[in-house]
């Protein structure tokens, strides 16, 4: 780049324009946006409450409230429940992704992003990359809290790490749903409302907290196709016995399908906001 001449040459500028962003540029722009999101997170520590307090609180609460009723005692409920809580907290964290995106989009700086020659997906994907940190915190804290309560994962360190990675991936994939909701809703508050309606059936109509065979048969059908059930089963298999079952495959597939549907939807609806 020549900095010797300070005058602007429109003809050269026009000749230098490119029709679209390359994949490499898109990735680099996404990481720049992720950097921004991380800076924002660091300066607003209250954004971390849902990934710090909630895993601690929910793990303790669910263990003591449901433990006796479902598994006889707290200790034998933990291997069943901890993977469920991991899935639940990661999903709740996803919801915050949508709410924060909506708040972000209402800010003046998003106008600047729209006017810049950057990939349209970068302002959406950047915060989601930064959110990987939040999923990681949420999933890890849940395991830590479980262990404090007496959970001894049979899968060992490797199994637990694999479970955390799978949960983070699934969280990231499912977050595209909430990102899409964030781009179509009129306000951050309505994002919250719509997301709750998606979130509750997904987490509670699954095998996260109760054995499936205790449910009515119609409900069992839904529970068995619910991607959250697959995530919970896969997490249990990984954390409790360090085995990679078909559930892992189904979870990965479900994540990819969700992304393939909702990432384009989110980008399209974001563009329409222009």
């Amino acid at each position: 780049m020549s900095t010797a001449t300070l005058t602007v040459d429109p003809a050269a500028a026009v000749a230098g324009t490119r029709a679209r962003t390359s994949p490499v540029e898109t990735v680099s722009q996404t990481f720049s946006m992720a950097w921004r999101a991380l800076k924002n997170m660091r300066r607003n520590p209250e954004q971390f409450f849902d990934v710090t307090l909630q895993p601690l609180l929910f793990t303790a609460m669910f263990a003591f409230v449901f433990g006796g009723a479902i598994s006889g005692d707290v200790a034998s409920y933990l291997p069943l429940m901890i993977p469920g809580i991991v899935a639940q907290t990661v999903l709740t964290t996803c919801m915050a992704t949508g709410v924060q995106l909506r708040e972000d989009m209402d800010k003046g700086v998003f106008d600047r992003f729209k006017s810049l020659p950057i990939a349209r997906i970068a302002p959406l994907a950047g915060p989601m990359v930064a959110d990987l940190v939040r999923y990681l915190i949420a999933a890890s804290l849940t395991f830590v809290m479980g262990m404090i309560l007496g959970y001894r994962p049979g899968g060992g360190v490797i199994g637990v790490l694999a479970a955390v990675v799978l949960a983070v991936f699934t969280g990231w994939a499912i977050a595209w749903i909430f990102t899409w909701v964030g781009t179509i809703a009129r306000s951050a508050r309505s994002v919250q409302g719509i997301s709750m309606m998606i979130l509750f059936p997904l987490t509670f109509l699954s095998n996260a907290f109760v054995p499936v065979d205790t449910l009515p048969s119609a409900l069992q059908t839904f529970v068995n196709i619910n991607p959250v059930s697959h995530l919970v089963s896969a997490t249990r298999d990984l954390a409790n016995s360090a085995t990679i079952t078909s559930q892992v495959g189904w979870t990965l597939l479900a994540g990819i399908v969700v992304m393939a549907i909702f990432a384009p939807l989110a980008v399209r609806s974001y563009k329409r906001h222009l």
Partner: protein
């Protein structure tokens, strides 16, 4: 060879429901020119600018930026423009230098280049002292300057400025004007919207007057003012001055009929050339008529509008804001 115009738009249309916010506007801005788009709140200035800047879809009509079609190749257009809105489009949670660095990185600069450019712009805009301060401590003028700096990172040849000085104090406004002039001196083309005739007069080579989504007048500031009419000389006679003599003097010097308000001792007279005001004062002194105060009033935006459109510039519903709730929140 004729140069490609920086902006060429014809028949631009934008409707929000039943409202025609921009109703068939043609616009042409030559390279290196400052075009001032003048109009009251809700006239459609911002909507038009946002369409040209690829921020709003164009409902009908065409727009080209340096020959590039805005609707078909928005990505190319975005590489040619800088946009500074009415409100700060910078990240409130980042510092000034972090903001500029981020926008540089997003536009493909290497980290070190982005940092150097950010530093240079902060110095140029007098913000180097505040570079690492949180934006919450910035004044309105500082934010506006940072916002403009952010639009200049890649030295785009066309800058859109949406009411760049609204809400700024006179000194900061003057600084902003100097900055805009220096941009043009470097070869930039500027399209700015404003509610102030004074600002358009100071800066613009040409002015387009927009009202209710339509272009109602266009020309150089002088042409526009001539169409509006002359300035007015206002004389406040000292108590006990002979009002009849004063009127005679004004009539004789200016050759036009003065309007006397006998109760307050005030004389208003149309003034074609401002120099003649001095002639009137000298003639009044020779006739021993004492005056308390004298002023020459320029045509105001209200008068421009009254003359051109036949209705008042104020008391218009703020139409743009009503239909863009997202922008409302952004303020």
């Amino acid at each position: 060879m004729t140069e490609t115009p920086a902006v060429h738009a014809s028949g631009l249309l934008k409707t929000f429901g039943a409202l025609r916010a921009v109703d068939g506007i043609d616009l042409e801005v030559s390279q290196g020119e400052i075009l001032g788009v003048l109009g009251p709140n809700g006239a459609g200035k911002t909507t038009m600018l946002r369409m040209l800047a690829t921020l709003l879809p164009i409902d009908a009509g065409t727009a080209h930026i340096f020959g590039v079609d805005v609707a078909r190749e928005p990505h190319r257009v975005r590489q040619l423009i800088g946009v500074t809105g009415q409100y700060a489009s910078v990240d409130e949670n980042l510092t000034a230098s972090e903001n500029l660095w981020l926008f540089g990185r997003l536009q493909g600069m290497r980290s070190a280049d982005a940092r150097a450019t950010a530093g240079r712009l902060l110095v140029q805009f007098g913000l180097e002292e505040a570079a690492e301060r949180p934006l919450s401590q910035f004044s309105g003028g500082m934010r506006r300057r940072l916002d403009l700096a952010a639009s200049l990172i890649t030295r785009p040849p066309l800058i859109f400025l949406d009411e760049p000085t609204t809400g700024l104090d006179p000194r900061t406004r003057g600084q902003m004007w100097d900055t805009i002039r220096s941009l043009v001196a470097e070869g930039c083309t500027v399209l700015l919207t404003t509610q102030y005739l004074d600002e358009a007069d100071q800066l613009a080579d040409r002015i387009a007057v927009i009202d209710r989504g339509r272009k109602v007048a266009e020309g150089t500031p002088d042409e526009l003012k001539a169409s509006v009419g002359s300035s007015t000389l206002q004389l406040q006679l000292a108590a006990g001055s002979d009002q009849a003599v004063a009127c005679d003097v004004v009539r004789r010097v200016l050759g036009s009929e003065p309007v006397l308000t006998p109760e307050s001792g005030r004389i208003n007279a149309p003034l074609t050339v401002a120099d003649r005001a001095a002639d009137v004062l000298i003639a009044l002194r020779e006739s021993a008529v004492a005056i308390d105060s004298v002023s020459v009033a320029k045509p105001t935006l209200d008068e421009v509008f009254l003359t051109i459109t036949g209705h008042d510039a104020t008391h218009e519903p703020d139409r743009t804001n009503d239909d863009e709730p997202a922008m409302e929140v952004a303020r």
